[in-house]
Every structure is written in structure tokens, then in C-alpha cells.
């Protein structure tokens, strides 16, 4: 099984990565070699083993319901590329 250039293009779009053709080709080669190696996982008999998502099984971790000071507005905005009137400026999402 190998991944096609169109699949790489599709997945890059899903991952919101704008790539040029040369990059797409490079990634296709690298992905095929890495996924080729990962094929070995297919041949393992895992039976009914349940998936292990976490290293340490802590459950129902809840914080106490005590109010704490949140982030100051100016601090929250300090790293943003574009701000206006105390807000993040985003590119237009809904066109007229």
C-alpha cells in the first residue's frame, strides 16, 4: 500500500498546511517510507486487547470549584499578530 500525491494533497488541506508541489513530493516519499515501516503493526495478533490511550490511568480528575483570577485581557492579547479594540482580529470568515 502506498500513499498517492493526491492523498498527500488532501491530508495537507485537512491539516491546514499550504504546500508547494516540491514539498508535496518530498512528503509523499517520506510518508511512504515511514508508513511502510509501520506496516509491521498490521501483522501483530492483538486479539481483543483494549487500546491504551494513556500511560497512567487517572480517572475523574476534577478541579475544586473555586474562583480564580483569569488572564488579564491585555496580557491575553499581547502575542496576537493583529488586535483591535481589545479583540483578536481574524480574517473574514463569512463573506457577504
Amino acid at each position: 500500500m502506498s500513499i498517492t500525491l493526491d492523498e498527500v494533497r488532501h491530508v495537507a488541506r485537512l491539516a491546514r498546511l499550504e504546500l508547494d508541489e516540491a514539498e508535496l513530493l518530498a512528503f509523499q516519499g517520506e510518508l511512504n517510507s515511514l508508513l511502510g515501516r509501520c506496516q509491521e503493526l498490521q501483522s501483530i495478533d492483538v486479539g481483543e486487547l483494549s487500546p491504551r490511550t494513556h500511560a497512567v490511568a487517572l480517572t475523574n480528575v476534577l478541579a475544586d470549584d473555586t474562583p480564580t483570577q483569569g488572564l488579564d485581557q491585555s496580557l491575553a492579547l499581547r502575542g496576537a499578530a493583529v488586535t483591535r479594540a481589545g479583540l483578536f482580529v481574524v480574517p473574514t470568515i463569512i463573506e457577504e
Partner: protein
């Protein structure tokens, strides 16, 4: 002072043989003089360091000093700091000033440590050579034509070069232990959850753990004790007391060497050095037996499905809107894709595409779900083995430090070198690398991995091993 351990420095400070400002100035000057040839640091803040040192000296003078008061520390640049930028070695966070300090940074401040600056890393900690940083490579202090390993190569090189006695890094698949091995220092990855990840910029959240570098096991333990313990701000933080070294005599210690690693890609010279070290531990009363860990060879494949999957989700937050620079494109999606496409480096983009692929419809079960099942299988094998032996031992890295650029055309070969280190992350086990000899003048690391929550005994055993093997030298940088 270069040769002083953190513990010795702390003792000298308490005895007033030296002041915290003198200590900070000594290391800052050494970095300024010698880091041009190494490239360990991305940022050094003399002003902030001296402020912290003055504060530390006051606490030493008035008797309220913390355990690390006046001890210089370097931080991998994926640990957030309000005072100085945190870039993760990426252009997408160029100049970024986080809005909060990482939990470990708060803990270091409480303990009185003096943060000298931020160290280089593979971009977003994805890599094993520190070559994928957007801000240049770091060189190995033992041979500047070679890599220090990675991804915490800056922190490992800084400690090896005597730029600071101790440093923090992060370990997702071996990123503390492998560079520690390649640079001839001690690298410790605690049990998952024993150190808070709040403020450790997320790469693969179920695998990431903050780790410690020191020239001795005691120093790594000294740092671990100061930054570990429960943090309600990280829901995966284990409600347990801080890590503390528990003395373990070598006599009667049972070490298990996985037989699967005997015929694998371990360089014969590395294997010889490790075998010689194990032989001298036998003389001290430890036993070394061969153990069976059939899944260990699947670790790399399992890791390179799970880690990119988690990364593709974690790194979705970098969109050029709330922080970091923005590259305008067509509309909202175009701007986000353009920002990410232009500002992430090659390795990060590759892993995000891979992660998105293995999580996408039609491939989820074949790759991601299956990798999680193999993860459980491997962890169970380790847990079973820990009933027969105290520690699993192996070389940390199949090879000593490699030449810069050596893996440029074969990235998979570099990834395959994570063989010995990834199981500890997949199982959440504590694991430590310490120098055990040299091959052609380059350090070789011995890796010990133990059951979850055995951190104190692991450090104690490693300390006894270090005493048995004798002190490891430091490279000569002048």
C-alpha cells in the same frame, strides 16, 4: 566552578565561599565566551539572571534560601517563560512571549534557582538531532562536527560544556535520554505524571514528560526533587510527593537485558562498552540476565503513529490568530494554511500530515487504534518483566554521536534510533541514561528503565552504578 556539581555549588554558596551573583556571572561569561562554537542557547538573559541571583543571595543571607538558591539552570525552549521568549525552535513562535510561566518554572523560582536562558531544540521537540530548529544547529561539545542528539540537544550540550550545572528538557520518545547519552551527561525522564506538564508546550500529550540533565545522578535528582510533585493545573499530574533519591546498594540488584536488542541495530562498539560496564556491575554484586520483550522492536512503529497523531491535534492551535506571526492568505482558511505552511519547518509538517493521515477515516483503525493496542501489549510485557528483574537495561542509543547532516537523506534511519528509549514513554515508565564509557572518544550511555513510580529507587540504583563505574570526564573546551 565549571567542574562543580549543583550540590557542590549549593554547599559553597551556603558557606559564603562564593556569592550567587558571582556564580551567575561566571556561567554567563562562560556562555558568552564559548557558546559560539556550540550553539546550545537560543536566548540568554543576563539582566534577568542577575536579578534572580541577587534575590537568591538575599535569601541565603537571611536564612530563607530554597534548595536550589543561586544554582544556575537552563531551560529547553519549549517550557514557557513570561520574562523571555519561548519559541520551540520554530518560526511560528518567533519572539513569542507566553502569558504564564510553566509549572516547573514556578517551582524553580520557589526553590531559588537562577534561570540563565533557553536552549535549542528540534522544532517543537520533533527530532533526534537538534538540526530541525529554525534557529540553527547545536554542536556536540565532544566533537563540534557532530550532533548533540535531540530533541533537547541544547540542554544536554549546555550541561556537557559546563555552561550550567543542571538543565531541564522534555522527553517524548527519548529526547532527554538520547542527547544525554550522546553528550556524556545524565538524563532522567520521571514516571509520566510526576512532573507537571503545565507550560510544557504540548507535542504528544500522552507521552511528553519534563526531564532533567546533570553531570551526576545526584544533580539530576536534586533538580527532579525541586520540580516534581502534584500540580492541580495538570489533570494528568499524579497526586504524590516529589521524587527523591532512595539509596540502593548494587548487591542483589537484578538487571535485565532484552534479548531482542542483542541482534538488532546496536553498533558493535557501543555494545562492547555497555557489556564491559555490565560486567563491572556484576563484580559489585548485581546480576544481569537476558529477558524477553517481544514487542520492543515494534516500539518505533507504534511511536511514529501515536506521537504524530497527537501532535497533529496539539499543533492545530498555531493559526496565526492568537499568538505568533501571521502570513496573509485568501480568506480565513487561506491565512491559516499559509501561516502554517510558511512558518512550520519540514519535519513538523511531515509529522502533522502523517498524524492527520493515521487519524483520518479509513485509516484510524488500521494505524491509530492498532498502535494503541500494541502500546498496551508492550507496556504489559514490561510490567511482567518487572516482576523478574528490577530494571531493564540497554544502550540508550544504538550509536554514539553522529555527524551533523549524516541523516539528511535518510530521516527514517534517525527515527529508528529511538528503539531503546520509546518504550518508557509508551508505558509511562521512569527511565534514566548515564554515561558508562566511551567509544572512539565519544560517550556511550547506559539506559535503565523501571516500573511506574519507582523513580526514587531508579535514581538510587543509577547513583550506585555511577559510583561503581567511576566519574565520567567533561570535554575540554578551554
Amino acid at each position: 566552578m565549571t567542574g562543580w556539581t549543583a550540590r557542590e555549588t549549593a554547599a559553597a554558596l551556603r558557606r559564603r565561599e562564593v556569592s550567587a551573583v558571582e556564580v551567575a556571572e561566571f556561567f554567563l561569561d562562560r556562555i558568552q565566551r564559548l557558546d559560539l562554537q556550540i550553539g546550545a542557547f537560543l536566548a540568554v538573559s543576563r539582566e534577568w539572571a542577575l536579578q534572580q541571583a541577587e534575590l537568591a543571595q538575599k535569601t541565603i543571607d537571611d536564612g530563607s534560601a530554597g534548595p536550589l538558591s543561586g544554582i544556575p539552570v537552563a531551560l529547553k525552549d519549549n517550557l514557557t517563560t513570561r520574562e523571555i521568549p519561548t519559541t520551540c525552535g520554530s518560526r511560528i513562535l518567533e519572539g513569542h512571549r507566553p502569558v504564564y510561566d510553566a509549572h516547573v518554572v514556578e517551582r524553580l523560582a520557589q526553590a531559588g534557582a537562577v534561570i540563565l536562558g533557553k536552549t535549542n531544540l528540534d522544532e517543537f521537540a520533533m527530532g533526534g538531532s537538534t538540526e530541525s530548529s529554525a534557529y540553527g544547529v547545536t554542536r556536540n561539545p565532544w566533537d563540534t562536527d557532530r550532533s548533540p542528539g535531540g530533541s533537547s540537544g541544547g540542554s544536554a550540550a549546555a550541561v556537557a560544556a559546563g555552561f550550567c550545572p543542571v538543565a531541564l528538557g522534555s522527553d517524548t520518545g527519548g529526547s532527554v535520554r538520547q542527547p544525554a547519552a550522546l553528550c556524556g551527561v545524565v538524563g532522567f525522564k520521571p514516571t509520566y505524571g510526576r512532573v507537571s506538564r503545565r507550560g510544557l508546550v504540548a507535542f504528544a500529550s500522552s507521552l511528553d514528560q519534563v526531564g532533567m540533565f546533570g553531570r551526576t545522578v545526584e544533580d539530576a535528582a536534586f533538580l527532579a526533587e525541586a520540580v516534581s510533585g502534584h500540580d492541580p493545573g495538570d489533570s494528568t499530574s499524579i497526586p504524590f510527593e516529589p521524587v527523591s533519591l532512595e539509596p540502593v546498594p548494587l548487591k542483589g540488584v537484578r538487571l535485565g537485558f532484552p534479548k531482542q536488542l542483542r541482534d538488532s541495530a546496536i553498533d558493535p562498539d557501543v555494545a562492547r562498552v555497555v557489556d564491559a560496564a555490565l560486567a563491572s556491575l556484576r563484580k559489585e554484586g548485581a546480576s544481569v540476565v537476558e529477558i524477553d520483550l517481544p514487542s520492543i522492536e515494534l516500539g518505533v512503529s507504534t511511536y511514529y503513529v501515536i506521537a504524530p497523531a497527537e501532535a497533529s491535534s496539539n499543533l492545530a492551535r498555531y493559526d496565526g490568530i492568537r499568538f505568533g506571526p501571521r502570513v496573509d492568505g485568501d480568506g480565513h482558511v487561506g491565512t491559516v494554511a499559509s501561516t502554517r505552511g510558511k512558518l512550520f519547518g519540514h519535519e513538523v509538517k511531515m509529522r502533522m500530515i502523517l498524524g492527520t493521515y493515521v487519524l483520518s477515516a479509513g485509516y484510524y483503525d488500521a494505524y491509530y487504534h492498532r498502535a494503541l493496542q500494541v502500546r498496551g501489549m508492550m507496556a504489559a510485557e514490561f510490567e511482567k518483566v518487572f516482576q523478574e528483574v528490577d530494571w531493564v537495561v540497554s544502550p540508550t542509543s544504538p550509536r554514539t554521536a553522529f555527524r551533523l547532516g549524516e541523516f539528511a537523506d535518510d530521516p527514517l534511519a534517525l527515527k529508528a534510533m529511538d528503539l531503546c528509549t520509546v518504550p518508557a514513554n509508551l508505558g509511562g515508565f521512569p527511565s534514566l541514561s548515564l554515561p558508562c564509557g566511551a567509544s572512539d572518544g565519544l560517550p556511550v550511555g547506559l539506559l535503565l528503565t523501571g516500573p511506574a513510580m519507582s523513580d526514587g529507587r531508579l535514581l538510587g540504583t543509577a547513583h550506585s552504578i555511577e559510583s561503581a563505574l567511576g566519574p565520567f570526564p567533561a570535554p575540554d573546551l578551554g
